[in-house]
């Protein structure tokens, strides 16, 4: 016993990890396994309590054969990849600006990026309703007043509103890892590149961009995961017309109380999400082999 305590205090081996492992097992792994098990069984619920649970693959086979699910997951993947791409397109220039800025401007950029994170995503999503909403929304009123359009555009409650809102809500999660990379960027490399004849654009393309890959990988993983699994933004900005996989799982669980179906949807969501995270990690690692090469003696 004393031996165990001593080893624990030593910080050697796996002992220090035990509190975290225990915490996660009780609060995450067990509930998750229970939830997922619903997908592989028929359950009977009475007054909110499961009274019987029998193993079956019916729900899984039915859902895998259902085109609605295929379309919904395709839509989710398309949306999340688009949001990831948009976040990269909008986020990279901000990070590049950060790289090129002095101390004061850098601080300003950092505050501007972090500030939205201090507000709940739900509140920020509501803000988009005000901006994009019907005839009296800021966008439509501006366009009407300028005479650019004759009738208000229908943006809110469409796929476009979800895309715009989600990009804005998740943008900081792309910018922050990129800024972390830029902070470590050695300016001597840019000078070396210029000295060797590169224009600023060539330096961006051949030095800064490839060296940002680890940041892009982290940012893409964060943005994709959150975009793929959120049901708040699609519900608020899609106005109930927009169904993605996460929203579907949520509705099956909370509204229609089809727990088994919801569990299958969740399982598929989890598996596909892990697949894409793996894909991003693999892509980022193969393009950054230079971090890890060892000398051949």
């Amino acid at each position: 016993m004393l031996d165990i305590i001593a080893r624990f205090a030593n910080g050697r081996g796996f002992w220090p990890a035990i509190p975290a492992v225990a915490f996660l097992t009780v609060l995450m792994v067990i509930p998750l396994v229970l939830l997922l098990s619903f997908g592989f069984s028929d359950i009977v619920v009475s007054r909110g309590v499961i009274v019987s649970q029998d193993f079956t693959l019916d729900h899984l086979t039915k859902i895998l054969g259902d085109r609605l699910y295929l379309l919904t997951f395709q839509r989710s993947i398309n949306l999340s990849l688009s949001v990831t791409a948009l976040c990269l397109i909008f986020g990279f220039p901000v990070a590049y600006l950060y790289l090129r800025s002095g101390t004061f401007a850098r601080r300003a950029i950092l505050i501007a990026v972090i500030a939205p994170l201090l507000t709940s995503g739900i509140v920020r999503t509501y803000a988009w309703i005000v901006i994009l909403g019907g005839q009296r929304g800021i966008v439509n009123r501006a366009l009407l007043d300028l005479g650019l359009i004759e009738a208000p555009l229908r943006i809110l409650n469409t796929h476009w509103a979800v895309l715009i809102g989600m990009t804005q809500v998740h943008l900081p999660l792309m910018i922050l890892p990129l800024i972390a990379v830029m902070t470590r960027h050695d300016k001597a490399l840019d000078e070396a590149s210029a000295n060797l004849g590169a224009s600023r654009l060539q330096t961006l393309r051949h030095v800064i961009l490839p060296m940002s890959v680890p940041g892009i990988g982290t940012g893409a993983t964060l943005v994709f995961t959150l975009s793929y699994t959120t049901f708040v933004v699609p519900q608020l900005l899609g106005g109930g017309n927009y169904l993605n996989a996460a929203t579907m799982a949520f509705e099956q669980m909370v509204y229609s109380l089809e727990w088994s179906k919801g569990a299958v949807t969740s399982t598929l969501l989890l598996v596909t999400c892990i697949f894409f995270i793996g894909l991003f990690t693999w892509a980022s690692q193969t393009t950054t082999r230079w971090i890890r090469q060892e000398g051949v003696a």
């Binding site: 050695d186 001597a188 000078e191 590149s193 060797l196 004849g197 051949h206 030095v207 060296m211 000398g295």
Partner: protein
């Protein structure tokens, strides 16, 4: 190859170069002329302006005034990526995400040279610096010496007119350093390249350059070949920065300065003067010897290879730094020994006007 550069139009001409950072004057009216194929070192302590001068030539910093011409072309008018200058950076600044071959070929690629031509020239220069075997390695898998050779190859492959090296040997350990200095000097000479080294290391400066420009407080204090810098420094600043020096006070009149012990030196000035005597120019005598100009006591002794370095304090409080051959009679003095000191050779002493 002595004194200032003499010739027709110099290959590199720097004139009136001035650079301020706020109130701080980093470069004050610097002038330097360098001949084709010459190796010049900018030597000085940190903050003396040597790196700023190099950055102005490369285009990383913009001078407030002055002129830089390379091969009769106004270089300051050229953007940074069009200057005919190759830089070897302090920590080499190799692109970590590119292989050795891609690092070396980078400049050619940016210039739009065809792929086959790039491969040929990269292979050629890598063979020259004996790195052909390592062309597919990434910089992280190279030793310091190998990284330095990649940096040199990368700067040379685009055939610059002038090579700039910023503290190029700093990151190498002492033993490797001496070898690389000789290697690099030979390589630059073989290619007939004109080069400017920047360093704070006087041994490095004396070892690799044809001429040394000693800098202090943004000014060039003296430009001369390494031997003259040591033997005939132009000012007490240069004398004290290069090598070990003893500055003795004396009075001069009628063109002659007299040191204790009856040593007479030609002095172009009258009044209070300072006399530079190098450590090896002292003779250590018995305390009772009549030739001794000073009596003193050994306070410190340190063997340094073939010589011993002593600190000897005279009765009047002056501290001398003296070097003696270890196999001479004076090579084994204990701390506390009483000795007499005399200047060996008046001809190698240098007389300066007293600073105050």
């Amino acid at each position: 190859m002595d004194g200032a550069y003499v010739g027709l139009a110099p290959f590199v001409a720097i004139d009136g170069l001035t650079k301020r950072f706020g109130d701080h004057v980093a470069l004050a009216d610097c002038a330097l002329a360098i001949g084709r194929g010459e190796i010049v070192t900018l030597l000085g302590p940190s903050g003396c302006g040597k790196t700023t001068l190099l950055r102005c030539i490369a285009g990383f910093a913009e001078p407030d005034a002055g002129r830089i011409a390379i091969d009769d072309t106004d270089t300051l008018a050229l953007p940074v990526n069009r200057r005919p200058v190759g830089v070897v950076f302090q920590n080499y600044a190799l692109f970590p995400h590119l292989t050795v071959a891609a690092n070396v070929g980078y400049g050619l690629k940016m210039r739009g040279v065809a792929k086959a031509e790039i491969d040929r020239r990269v292979a050629e220069i890598l063979a020259l610096v004996s790195l052909s075997e390592l062309k597919d390695r990434y910089p992280i898998a190279l030793s310091g010496g190998q990284q330095q050779r990649v940096a040199v190859a990368r700067a040379l492959v685009v055939e610059p007119k002038l090579l700039l090296l910023d503290e190029a040997f700093n990151a190498l350990d002492a033993k490797l350093r001496a070898g690389m200095q000789a290697e690099l000097r030979k390589l630059i000479k073989r290619l007939g390249m004109t080069a400017i080294f920047v360093t704070h290391d006087q041994d490095e400066a004396l070892a690799i350059s044809d001429r040394v420009a000693v800098m202090g407080s943004g000014r060039i204090a003296q430009v001369a070949n390494p031997i003259d810098i040591y033997d005939r420094p132009a000012s007490p600043y240069v004398a004290q920065f290069v090598g070990t020096s003893n500055m003795l006070e004396a009075r001069a009149s009628g063109g002659v300065a007299t040191l204790p012990g009856g040593i007479k030196l030609a002095a172009p000035i009258s009044g209070n003067v300072q006399v530079l005597v190098r450590p090896q120019n002292f003779e250590i005598l018995d305390a009772s010897d009549a030739r001794a100009g000073w009596q003193g006591r050994v306070t410190f002794g340190r063997p340094a290879g073939a010589i011993v370095e002593y600190e000897i304090d005279a009765a009047d409080g002056t501290s001398f730094k003296i070097a003696a051959l270890r196999d001479s009679p004076a090579g084994h003095l204990p701390v506390g020994a009483k000795v007499g000191l005399a200047v060996r050779d008046a001809g190698t002493c240098v007389v300066f006007e007293a600073s105050s």
